[in-house]
Symmetry: C2
């Protein structure tokens, strides 16, 4: 379990580090991450408009960036759906 958590952390950092703050995902970084890493779990993963809506729904403090815990919420819902748990 700890190694799976480590994978999610390191991949978040890999994408978050490309531009701006290395602790947050910009819109472009988020789009790349979803398209390349979550193609099966996220419906319309390649659709920029859908991804923009997804990002705004997660961006609780509306700073245009996703911090780790905001990102973690997305993964939680995807995991919950993938696991077949009632939402």
């Amino acid at each position: 379990m700890e190694s799976a958590i480590g994978v999610l952390v390191s991949q978040f950092k890999a994408y978050a580090g490309t531009d701006g703050s290395s602790d947050t995902l910009s819109r472009d970084e988020f789009f790349k991450l979803v398209t390349l890493e979550l193609p099966n779990f996220v419906k319309n993963a390649g659709d920029p408009v859908a991804i923009d809506q997804l990002m705004s729904s997660l961006d609780k403090d509306s700073d245009g960036e996703l911090n780790f815990l905001e990102f973690w919420q997305l993964i939680g819902h995807l995991a919950s759906k993938h696991g077949g748990f009632s939402q």
Copy 2:
């Protein structure tokens, strides 16, 4: 990333399935999971009192069980600490 999410889901299910509802972790199931799977990420992983406190802090609906999203919160905070992100 999707495979790492799959690992976390399947391991949650493996522990949640041993007694009672297979969608939630009982106190015993949670204690086993933390002790065996998160020995490095959770301080005092072997201490029943510490684990009880941890479980109550996560059990938002206080039903004595942890559903997947309640459990996911714990993993998020552990991952955030592991990643060195400000909480």
